[in-house]
């Protein structure tokens, strides 16, 4: 749902221009230094990119799902590390408070997430807890008007710069599954919180993940999200569809960027006396990429609109995530192929994107988990 076409058009234009003029020229530096220059981070704060999904009442833009995916198509046109920096505040890092936080929690944190003053990070994954997310081992024990948290969280995006962590911890060891898990807002400066060294990754240089270790961290009971035990995991699942559609849209954006790069290369590169874009096998690759990217774009928009209409889109969101992230992998592979030997050289962006996009099939639910969700929902609906 688009609330106002003209305003959204201006918003998208503004973001597209920022991406083109500020972010794309900084890609190579980012890849080399593994760091987003502070001036760019400040610009991202100034134009309001950290508050895309935070409700307007708390200083954000309150984008609808359709608006958000249209924005994500644009953000996908550059290195995903830029999007990753704003990703947690606009998604899992703030969502639990947006959905189920008490009014006091909302007032306290959301305006600062929206401006980017505070980075919110989300701690669910653990060394032994990945796809089986409800088996959280980190514990939170009630002690007077505090909870004491113990455990290790893994691959935590933006952990090295986080101001707060939304931590999933088991408050009831009797209940093994999701219902035993609660969500807490933990100040990153709390005593007992240690952020490990930045993980060395295959791609997405400049997007930082790390272990976060909680060693007898005392958290005031008022930081229990929603003020109720056993709701944490259920809350975090509410943002799942949104996150999956967002990643799908970013995948579409990157695919379109890769196609653009590959097309431009193919029109300039001459072999056998003509641009390679005039050779049929190159044309076939270009056409296949275009078709797949367009299909994914249509899927994402359709699912986003349905979600805005209040329909259940768990199946559609998983279909989008599965198809769009696998699609961008194929497109990146063909973009490298079209570039020939140059595609293997770091000077060309396709080499970097080829490694960057590999992550999309792994996080926010692996492709295998998406297939399980889709098939289970199909069976459930038919029985």
């Amino acid at each position: 749902m688009i609330r106002d076409q003209e305003t959204l058009g201006q918003l998208i234009d503004g973001i597209a221009r920022f991406v083109r003029e500020r972010l794309v020229p900084a890609e190579a530096e980012l890849a080399e230094t593994y760091n987003i220059p502070e001036s760019i981070v400040q610009d991202m704060r100034d134009i309001g990119l950290f508050g895309l999904t935070i409700p307007e009442a708390y200083g954000g833009l309150g984008l609808t799902m359709e608006e958000e995916v249209l924005v994500a198509f644009e953000l996908g046109q550059t290195s995903p590390a830029f999007r990753s920096l704003i990703g947690t505040n606009n998604g899992i890092g703030s969502a639990s408070i947006v959905f189920d936080g008490t009014e006091a929690q909302k007032q306290r944190y959301l305006p600062r997430y929206a401006t980017g003053e505070l980075i919110g990070s989300f701690c669910l994954t653990e060394p032994d807890v990945g796809s089986d997310a409800a088996s959280v081992k980190t514990t939170a024990k009630k002690d007077g008007d505090h909870y004491v948290i113990n455990g290790t969280k893994r691959f935590i995006t933006n952990a090295p710069i986080a101001g707060t962590f939304t931590v999933m911890a088991r408050t009831n060891p009797e209940i093994k599954g999701a219902r035993g898990v609660s969500a807490f807002i933990v100040d990153a400066t709390s005593s007992g919180v240690t952020v490990g060294p930045k993980d060395k990754k295959m791609g997405q240089a400049g997007s930082h993940t790390a272990d976060v270790i909680f060693d007898d961290v005392r958290v005031p009971a008022e930081n229990l999200i929603g003020g109720k035990e056993g709701e944490g995991f259920i809350t975090s699942m509410k943002v799942l569809d949104r996150g999956r559609l967002h990643i799908s849209a970013v995948s579409v954006g990157i695919a379109e960027r890769l196609i653009d790069d590959a097309l431009r290369f193919a029109m300039e590169r001459q072999q056998f006396g003509k641009p390679i874009a005039e050779h049929q096998m190159i044309q076939a690759m270009l056409a296949d990429c275009k078709t797949e990217a367009y299909a994914a774009r249509c899927m994402v928009l359709d699912a986003a609109r349905k979600k805005d209409l209040g329909q259940q889109v768990a199946t559609e969101a998983s279909c989008c995530k599965l198809f769009a992230t696998e699609m961008v992998g194929r497109v990146a592979d063909k973009a490298v192929q079209i570039h020939g030997g140059s595609g293997y050289i770091a000077e060309y962006a396709v080499e970097r994107f080829y490694r960057d996009v590999r992550l999309f099939r792994l996080y926010e639910g692996t492709s295998e988990i998406q297939r399980i969700v889709i098939a289970r929902n199909m069976v459930k609906a038919a029985s």
Binding site: T7, Q10, R22
Partner: protein, 249 residues
């Protein structure tokens, strides 16, 4: 202090323009339109004057088809307080625009009118100067620096061979050059808020101006394609060709 800032809707500077197949005009069907870059600099300067506490109100004005309100909204998102659109589907030319701006100046009595020195579509570089002539306001064109103090504005102008500073009594007209400032990006929350800022709409008739075009475009053609070059064996051959074939030395 009140500032009137003019913004023009033009083809976005990133678009590669092409003539229509019949050569009557530039083809702007389904082409991305934006605020003229020089006008963006004008808006930025006005906003900076307001942030410094020099200006109290900024009015952004555009003239053209209904869609030109998008460019007024962009100016509002950048920091203008209210907007004016003079709506006309005519091909608006500098003299008509200057006359309509004069009518608005009489209505609003701004202390400063800031315009881009030219638009990237027509490259006319006329509107500011014509407005100066019509209103008898002093003008500082091609500004690379603007300072307002004690009821006067000092404008550093980029002229051939150097810089010239003129000191004008207000109300005055300033047209902006590229180096005056670097425009900011409109913040996303401000883009949302711009929708709620007031915008008045007029027609040329409302302002008592006959906007009929006075200049006729005969034809529009793409620039001649560059021909393939040749390699010369040595400097002597190069000089010979420059002298006798190209006849440039």
């Amino acid at each position: 202090m009140k500032i009137l800032v003019a913004v023009k809707r033009v083809v976005d500077y990133n678009v590669k323009v092409r003539p229509k197949s019949d050569g009557t005009d530039v083809d702007i069907a389904n082409v991305k339109m934006s605020i003229n870059p020089f006008c963006e600099i004008a808006v930025e300067e006005a906003v900076r004057l307001k942030e410094k506490g020099v200006a109290t109100e900024i009015i952004a004005i555009s003239m053209g088809p209904k869609q030109a309100q998008e460019q007024v909204r962009t100016a509002l998102a950048l920091g203008a307080d209210r907007g004016i659109l003079v709506e006309s589907d005519e091909d608006l030319q500098p003299l008509a625009i200057a006359k309509m701006l004069k009518a608005i100046v009489e209505k609003e009595s701004p202390d400063l009118v800031i315009l881009g020195k030219q638009a990237i579509d027509g490259d006319n570089n006329q509107t500011g100067q014509m407005l100066g002539a019509l209103t008898s306001m002093p003008q500082g064109t091609f500004a690379s620096e603007v300072n307002v103090a004690d009821g006067r504005v000092s404008v550093t102008r980029e002229i051939d061979g150097g810089l010239q500073t003129v000191n004008l009594s207000l109300p005055a007209i300033v047209t902006t050059d590229l180096r005056l400032n670097e425009p900011r990006y409109a913040s996303l929350p401000n883009i949302m808020k711009a929708k709620r800022k007031p915008m008045d709409t007029f027609t040329p008739e409302d302002l008592g101006v006959d906007a009929t075009p006075r200049v006729k475009t005969l034809s529009v053609e793409p620039p001649a394609e560059r021909k393939a070059g040749i390699k010369v064996a040595d400097v002597a051959e190069l000089v010979d060709k420059l002298k006798n074939e190209a006849k440039v030395i």
